[in-house]
């Protein structure tokens, strides 16, 4: 044909569709995963120029070595009391998850999501931030609330959508909102919180405040457009914000390759935006603490945003609605080279001579009892499935500041239907 270039001597194009290395039944070997030794990553000054972070975006900040010793320039040198408090908050987060997972299986709530294996990412960050720094979490940072000593009965009330639920049963379980703990309302829509955190930080800066914002999303969610706009705005306005990417390797059934991990790191995304980027061992509470503390200092001194990739592993299913054995090898969790964040911090405290197995076992027992008692208290306010725990009329409240006529009309209709049918709800 006239005008059509002759390409017959070229091999055909091939579409690359990423494939995880291990599927169900495969034996797992993470031997070739590049894990730098603890203590090797340099610690730049908090005012280092964004273009000096290239190497840090591809290596990994690690503090705890294989013997549980804290090594290198990122060691935050926390007191034993502080280390124990952090360990306790992580263990409480895990105990809470265990209890609530079981509550879902018992039919007391419709849904739950654990953060097993990722406790350090939220808890250590909360310890490094000020209590009034605003957190814009995803759904897997319950450790923030626990580290901020928020009442776990209140969290359970939300999970049970019961009489004590401050969110009036309007939200899916675990979509907490705790303004008092500077914990922003969780949305089901992924990564929307990213530009919101940047906007909050911009507002704080515009007002001459000293508070900063921090936000979290998973590595899968970095593919959302909001991630890009948030990075752009954060860079353009040098917003005092810490943007955390929790790279737990899995977005439901899709491995991190579908978010681009085969070609680069998530910390490296920062480079193109002119943002400081750190890559951190997310199962090393001291590394998470140190990186967050560093980024917070950078933000608070008007040096701009930081993007932190927390390299970790989602040890459990995505949610109570998910069965990971359908898409990944069961051996991944045990073979994960960065271990378990609680076990590693425990080992460190023991190596310091500030902890022992007996105390740890006693703590676990005590926390299990504590969570069980809290659950009993929360269940007195009702569990899901035992009818409506909120007056029906509340369904129409909070759509707007004041209820407009059309919602009043719908409310009146609902109540008259209730009177006819005797539905299982309470009226005000």
């Amino acid at each position: 044909m006239e005008g059509v270039p002759d390409r017959r001597n070229l091999p055909p194009l091939r579409l690359h569709v990423p494939e995880p290395r291990f599927r169900p039944g495969d034996s797992v070997d993470f031997g070739d995963l590049a894990i730098p030794a603890a203590g090797t990553a340099p610690r730049p000054a908090a005012d280092a120029a964004p273009d000096s972070f290239h190497d840090l975006a591809y290596t990994m900040v690690r503090v705890l070595d294989d013997n549980g010793q804290a090594v290198g320039p990122w060691d935050p040198r926390l007191t034993p009391d502080r280390l124990r408090a952090m360990l306790r908050a992580m263990a409480l987060t895990r105990a809470f998850d265990e209890r609530m997972f079981r509550a879902q299986r018992q039919g007391k709530t419709s849904f739950y999501m654990k953060c097993t294996g990722e406790e350090a990412v939220a808890v250590a960050a909360a310890f490094a931030l000020q209590p009034d720094d605003m957190c814009f979490p995803s759904y897997r940072q319950q450790g923030l609330l626990i580290a901020r000593d928020w009442d776990i009965v209140d969290m359970m009330n939300q999970i049970y959508s019961n009489r004590g639920d401050r969110l009036q049963g309007k939200q899916l379980p675990i979509m907490y909102s705790v303004r008092e703990a500077s914990f922003f309302s969780i949305s089901g829509n992924l990564t929307t919180q990213y530009p919101q955190a940047v906007g909050w930080a911009m507002a704080s800066a515009a007002k001459g405040d000293t508070r900063i914002a921090a936000t979290w999303c998973g590595e899968g969610s970095t593919a959302e457009g909001d991630f890009h706009s948030a990075c752009t705005f954060a860079s353009v306005y040098r917003a005092p914000v810490i943007m955390n990417v929790v790279n737990n390797q899995w977005a439901i059934s899709s491995f991190s390759g579908f978010a681009g991990a085969e070609s680069t790191t998530f910390a490296a995304r920062a480079i193109g935006y002119g943002i400081a980027g750190l890559r951190v061992d997310g199962n090393d509470a001291l590394a998470v603490y140190a990186a967050t503390e560093w980024a917070a200092e950078r933000a608070r001194t008007n040096q701009g945003p930081t993007l932190i990739e927390h390299f970790t592993y989602r040890a459990e299913g995505h949610s109570t609605s998910d069965d990971p054995s359908a898409y990944r090898s069961a051996d991944e969790r045990s073979e994960w080279p960065l271990g378990d964040p609680i076990a590693r911090l425990k080992q460190h405290l023991i190596a310091l001579g500030e902890w022992d197995d007996e105390r740890h076992a006693a703590m676990d027992l005590e926390l299990a009892e504590y969570v069980k008692a809290a659950a009993r208290t929360a269940e007195k306010n009702g569990v899901l499935g035992h009818g409506m725990h909120q007056p029906m009329e509340t369904l129409f409240e909070g759509v707007f500041e004041e209820i407009p006529w059309h919602l009043e009309e719908q409310r009146a209709q609902m109540l008259s239907e209730y009177d006819v049918a005797g539905r299982p709800g309470a009226r005000k």
Binding site: L167, M175, S177, S185, Y194, P195, G199, D226, S229, G398
Partner: protein
């Protein structure tokens, strides 16, 4: 004042009164906006209160939600309503639901300003009227002014409102009212009574329609540019129509509508937006439910066609005097 000046004045007044009001958007800062709506504001209030943004609608609205959560009262601009779609997730899933999902802990007290509507040879992406998308979202208020006086009063009320407001500005009538006769010169606002706009603070409450012409024969519901087109046709045909400018689409002033249709027995709805699933369908349903026994003729809808907004065929698409006139004859037949 023309409508641009009135809108500018509303932002000026509110920025003066409330240090938490911030204005943001593409080209709104130094340059003063592609339609000059924010001219002079940055020079007066500084860069931290009036600032240019990256070209990212989802970023603009997402950042505004965060600013609102902090305690500011953002007034983001989307340069054309046709470009609001990248921000839909932030508007629908976040701004509209924040109060509800947090049981009032967090709110999004923002006013999203955006030029909308056709009649300017804007083609497919500078002419759209997407109000029906927003009136369908619970938690959003939708406001559309038709005069400079209303634009300022409504915008001030919108900025003061603690709920997120979509404020669509009919750009066809920024400089003067438009009667639909595209072949005649447009009279500037200066010759119109509604261009008398007070310099200082005043507000027009949201949710209140305005009867712009009283009549007995038929009720015509319109908003934005179409208010003027309808008035022109009614005057030319000598029809004793009652013309209602809705001003706020949600919450709707149902009482004014209901009283009027019960009086006239006939109802016509006019909007530029495409017909199917448009706001006119909701208006028609409301009138039918409330005024069924008073209706003497089927409710008429004169709207844009169910096509993308065309460029050279603009005046075939635009619901102008001929189409409205024919519909009037039809509804008044018996």
């Amino acid at each position: 004042m023309n409508m641009i000046q009135a809108i500018n004045s509303a932002m000026d007044v509110m920025m003066e009164r409330d240090p938490d009001v911030v204005v943001m958007g593409e080209d709104v800062g130094y340059f003063g906006g592609v339609f000059r709506a924010t001219a002079g504001l940055q020079a007066k209030y500084g860069k931290t209160r009036v600032f240019d943004t990256p070209i990212s609608e989802c970023g603009i609205i997402g950042v505004a939600v965060g600013m609102g959560a902090y305690g500011l009262r953002p007034v983001p601009e989307i340069q054309f309503a046709d470009y609001i779609y990248p921000a839909l997730d932030q508007l629908v899933s976040e701004a509209a639901r924040l109060r509800y999902r947090s049981a009032g802990e967090f709110t999004a007290p923002m006013t999203v300003r955006s030029p909308f509507g056709g009649g300017i040879f804007g083609g497919q992406t500078h002419s759209q009227s997407p109000e029906g998308i927003f009136t369908h979202v619970s938690g959003l208020k939708t406001v559309i002014p038709s005069t400079p006086y209303d634009a300022k009063g409504l915008l001030i009320a919108a900025i003061e409102d603690n709920d997120p407001v979509i404020f669509f500005e009919p750009k066809r009538i920024y400089n003067g009212p438009f009667d639909g006769h595209y072949d005649r010169p447009v009279t500037p606002w200066a010759k119109h009574a509604s261009s008398e706009v007070p310099e200082g603070y005043y507000r027009i409450d949201l949710g209140k329609a305005k009867v712009v012409r009283e009549g007995e024969a038929v009720t015509i519901l319109a908003y934005g540019t179409m208010v003027h087109v309808v008035q022109g046709v009614v005057a030319e045909q000598g029809v004793d129509a009652e013309v209602i400018d809705l001003r706020t689409l949600l919450p709707l002033d149902i009482d004014t509508i209901e009283a009027s249709v019960k009086k006239t027995g006939r109802c016509m709805i006019v909007h530029e937006a495409t017909r199917t699933g448009g706001f006119g369908a909701e208006l028609s349903a409301q009138v039918q439910e409330r005024c069924f026994y008073h209706l003497e003729a089927p409710i008429e809808r004169v709207t844009g066609y169910d096509t993308p907004y065309p460029h050279s065929l603009e005046w075939a698409y635009f619901p102008g005097p001929v189409r409205i006139g024919e519909a009037l004859k039809k509804i008044l037949k018996d």
